[in-house]
Amino acid sequence: MKPRYLMTLCLLGLLGGCSSLGVQPWERGQLARDPMQLIPHGVDQSLDDHTYFSKESSFGGVSLGGGGCGCN
């Protein structure tokens, strides 16, 4: 099975099996801290995305990206 199809199944499985994971609303203190964000420093992420898009042939994955440039 191609890896991406396997990953899709895992993703759906994660959804299905997720009800046993997680925390109660009053337990979110740690998770709400700024350093715990998925992207804690957005400007850094934008700069890195653009730099690596200009220097490599891979891109994206983290978010939907920031549009085009004539750099690749």
Partner: protein, 440 residues
Amino acid sequence: MQLKSRERNIRHLLSVAGASLLSADPALAEGAGWDTDTSLFYYSEDDRVTVFEPITTARKEIGDDEFISAQLVYDSLSGATPNGALPAATAQTFTTPSCQDTYTIGAGELPMRGFSDNRVAANLGWDRPMTRTLRGQLGIRGSLESDYMSLGLSGSLLMDFNQKNTTLALGFGADGDSVQPGGGKPVGMTSIASCGGGGGGGEDTEGGLEALGEIIGNYSVDKKVSSLMLGVTQVLNRRSLLQVNLSQTRFQGYLNDPYKLVTVFDNNATNPTYGDPLDYRFESRPRSRTANSVYAQLVYGFDEDVIHVSWRHFSDDWGVESDTYELAYRLQLGPNVYLRPFYRHYQQDAADFYRHSIPNNALPAYASADQRLGAFTGITGGLRLGLQFGDRNEVYLRLATMTQTGDSHPDNAVGSQTAQDLFPDLKARFVQLGLHYDFN
């Protein structure tokens, strides 16, 4: 505190599928004023490109949990970039893309083309709740440089499940790009002697700001880009989150780099010039490309410190395949100071049509000698120092070094090529100084 922490949790989950805007800084707070983040970024490669890039992002609450955001970027680029041709044992002369001028490269030197350019890019976004568990976001974006213009839009939906412990994100992006090199768009695999069939006769784009107005007037879609993302973020426990994203991006249209060449070499082993350059062709890439990626990230919070670990696997129908591993550790040194070292390891396999050069007796339909399509390893290491003040403000400094190394002496080098470095290392470093200030 409970309500605020849940809202902030939702906010950062928008980074799963948000446009550049939301991913720009989902940590920015709600309030009546602007929450801003501004950086000066300076990037420099050994003997190649230098970039100076101020960037600013701002976000503001305009309604009940409804936000608008904006990002503005200016790039000033200058220096020299490899033109795709190989170094050779003798001096080489090339015509500029518009055929208006020539430049000569010394024996044994990597052929590079001098250039300077300016780029402006802006994004605007809007996000708001649609139901108690559904959030929507729309964004528009554009960028402009002397020979390229891009316009696009994006949108996403986020759905919460399991008491907001699970979030499913679905997003799309669409861009229309206009490619306008000074000499016209070269036809792939044509000789530079013919100016690539792009007509020549134009001006070599000098990159001045006055040139930008012409680009806008001549905008037409030469390249279409569309992307879809499906993501899941799952709270694992009080200290950790897992995110998994699947993405697909499709490109259609003119995908060549209009400035890149491929050396045509003498493939006759009996010639004393075996391996020497005979001609140069403009590179040629397919007119379509489909790329897929899977990305997974784990965030774990210690009492003070936080670690981010991620992996991305990328593959496309050009044969490019890569794995990216990233690690960042936030070390809280005191109540107002932190250090965040980071490390990135990138491994790329070459595109099917990547060639360091092409034989004169067997020209392929597609070929590119752009090292960015080749096989290489990229390593980045650096750190960010933050000095916090006020409620959520900080001054920060980020430093890093980057290297790319490939095979300098591949097995398929022939004749005089074997004495040359066919994949010179890329070495770069950057410095970034920034201020995050929340006017709320």
